[in-house]
């Protein structure tokens, strides 16, 4: 119910001519073993310019790990664990209950305090007090969701993280940054020429990407804090496929300056270019393992595009994919155990994952044109681009394929998603 309202609200924003076309999220599949949670409205929440609990509840539901229960009709709203009728929630099989209150402070800012309650144990799992201004309501809601997520699952939540993607609207290309729920989109770069392959620096402060504004592909690094950018690779020929090393100091890139598309390492300021290896075929789409020791990449050295890996220190490349004639765009999960990539099956390009230990492969989608997979920093979702009704949309799925979502922007093509890292607290 709440979600439907939110979608309508997002729509109204668009109709009202808001500066940005917002991403609208539609949940198309649910996970198993979800934690039943009831997020009660915070007492006094109506003093806030927007609802906190609606946003937090949607974040939790979108994660696929929670099932949001109906939480209306409670009067008066409890603000302290001692006021909660636990047996009532127990009878509804609620595992977790969230209660809280909000108030306007004398200086015009706001305060929200909440408790997360374990219903079976009738105990508080903790709570936090946040002070924030009118522009920080959503950010605060995401932090509340992440607190709850971590307490209940033992893993970090991603509600406070951001995503980058490219929107093509007519002849205009925009590199946009939004919250993980698609809201609050900001334009980092607008161009009349294509922008592809955005990648977040490990500290989340910079984006590397490829821009065609000088009639050929050139690699840039763009600071999101200052809006300044610099050229990292603009050599003779093509420069593309930037991938950050986990240390944030160097990138792997593909350069054709010595002929062919080959892998190089380069410092983030564009200095110290060195070739990783020499092959006669195409090597592209490098991606670092989380420990920075290996690079996964796509190569057609064996006759068809397949995924390989090579130690960063050099040495022999070893082939990872053997199943099918087209396996591309390798992206390693944050724990280094799973590889997401795109495979071609009977002419359809589909998102797949492989368990790197067992080399077991699983196709996750039934769509036609999947591209550019990107793991959430907690590894629980994979964001990717696909096509729906002839238009580019973003979609997300859990690595087991159970939780599925779609993110669309009305009247525009969305592509090239990249999920940003955890932000330092």
């Amino acid at each position: 119910m709440k979600r439907a309202l939110q979608i309508i609200a997002a729509w109204l924003l668009v109709l009202a001519g808001a500066a940005q076309a917002q991403l609208t999220i539609e949940i198309t599949g649910g996970g198993a073993d979800q934690i039943p949670i009831a997020v009660l409205r915070f007492a006094g929440e109506n003093v806030l310019p927007a609802s906190l609990t609606d946003v937090s509840e949607a974040d939790l539901a979108r994660s696929g790990r929670f099932r949001a229960q109906y939480a209306g009709g409670v009067q008066p709203l409890p603000t302290d664990p001692s006021q909660v009728n636990f047996s009532q929630w127990k009878s509804r099989n609620t595992d977790a209950l969230v209660i809280g209150q909000a108030a306007r402070l004398a200086d015009g800012r706001f305060e929200a305090r909440f408790h997360l309650l374990d219903v079976p144990k009738q105990a508080s799992l903790g709570g936090v007090v946040f002070t924030f201004n009118a522009a920080q309501v959503r950010t605060t809601a995401h932090r509340i969701a992440d607190f709850i997520y971590e307490k209940m699952t033992g893993e970090r939540g991603v509600a406070s993280t951001r995503i980058a993607y490219v929107v093509k609207q007519g002849t205009r290309f925009e590199l946009q940054i939004a919250d993980a729920d698609g809201q609050g989109a900001q334009v980092a770069l607008a161009s009349r020429e294509p922008i592809i392959s955005p990648g977040w620096s490990p500290d989340g402060a910079r984006l590397a990407y490829v821009s065609f504004e000088s009639k050929k592909p050139v690699v840039y690094v763009h600071s999101l804090t200052t809006g300044q950018r610099h050229v990292v690779a603009n050599f003779k020929g093509s420069n593309s496929a930037p991938a950050w090393a986990p240390d944030g100091k160097q990138l792997a890139v593909v350069l054709s300056r010595e002929g062919g598309s080959q892998l190089f390492l380069i410092n983030a300021d564009g200095s110290n270019v060195r070739r990783l290896m020499t092959t006669s075929g195409i090597d592209t789409e490098p991606y670092f393992s989380p420990d920075g020791q290996r690079i996964y990449f796509t190569s057609d050295r064996g006759g068809s595009p397949q995924i390989y890996q090579i130690p960063v220190s050099g040495g022999e490349a070893s082939r990872i994919t053997f199943d099918g004639g087209y396996n591309v765009t390798p992206r390693v999960s944050p724990d280094g155990k799973t590889l997401a990539f795109v495979t071609r099956r009977e002419g359809r390009f589909q998102l797949a994952v492989m368990d790197l230990a067992s080399r077991q492969m699983q196709v996750l989608t039934d769509t036609q044109r999947d591209e550019s997979p990107s793991f959430a920093p907690n590894g629980r979702m994979i964001l990717y681009a696909t096509e729906l009704g002839g238009r580019g949309v973003l979609a997300a799925t859990s690595p087991d394929g159970r939780v599925k979502q779609r993110l669309t922007v009305k009247a525009a093509d969305v592509r090239e998603p990249a999920w940003g890292p955890f932000l330092a607290n």
């Binding site: 002849t171 009349r192 592809i196 496929a241």
Partner: protein
């Protein structure tokens, strides 16, 4: 067969483009202009001398629609960078032109259809452009004159999701200095 026809058709269109420079208006630099379309206005003869006279003596051979040098596109089969026989005379002419005009520079842009990974397609486009470069160098062009680059699948000439569209997008375009 079909593809050849389409390629020929596309070439004919290109050709047609070149003969009617008056119709061209630069459109925001978004579409990669067909080589015939990137003519600077200076190349257009005054209106009075325009009648269908292929006898213009001083015409820039690169812009003269009757000169093979005004043809700038090579089309490919799916997943192939093989330069088909029909494009060889054109490449020969460009190679010869470059070898006789050492100050001339050329950007070769390789392109792909939209199917598959953007970055892998970028690499495939690069391979196409480098194939053109190699052939031009066999004909006498020098390394410093030609720069092969790739636009991957990012600058389609035709945006429909049909085979005939895809065949127009699998191509290399040759642009001389001043045209890009």
């Amino acid at each position: 067969m079909n593809k050849k026809l389409i390629a020929a058709l596309a070439l004919a269109l290109l050709y047609g483009c070149g003969t009617e420079p008056a119709k061209e208006e630069p459109k925001a630099g978004v579409e990669e202009r067909t080589p015939g379309a990137v003519q600077p206005p200076a190349a257009q003869p005054p209106a009075a001398t325009r009648p269908v006279a292929p006898t213009r003596v001083e015409a820039n051979p690169l812009k003269d629609p009757n000169n093979i040098l005004s043809k700038r596109s090579i089309f490919y089969d799916f997943d192939s960078d093989v330069i088909k026989e029909e494009f060889r005379p054109m490449l020969q002419a460009h190679g010869k032109y470059l070898s006789q005009n050492k100050s001339a520079k050329m950007l070769i842009q390789g392109n792909c259809d939209e199917r598959g990974s953007r970055e892998y397609n970028l690499a495939l486009g690069q391979r196409r452009a480098e194939g053109v470069k190699r052939m031009l160098m066999l004909m006498g062009a020098t390394e410093s004159q030609v720069e092969p680059v790739s636009l991957g699948e990012e600058k389609p000439r035709c945006e429909d999701k049909t085979d005939s569209c895809y065949s127009q997008n699998r191509r290399s375009d040759m642009l001389y200095g001043g045209e890009y």
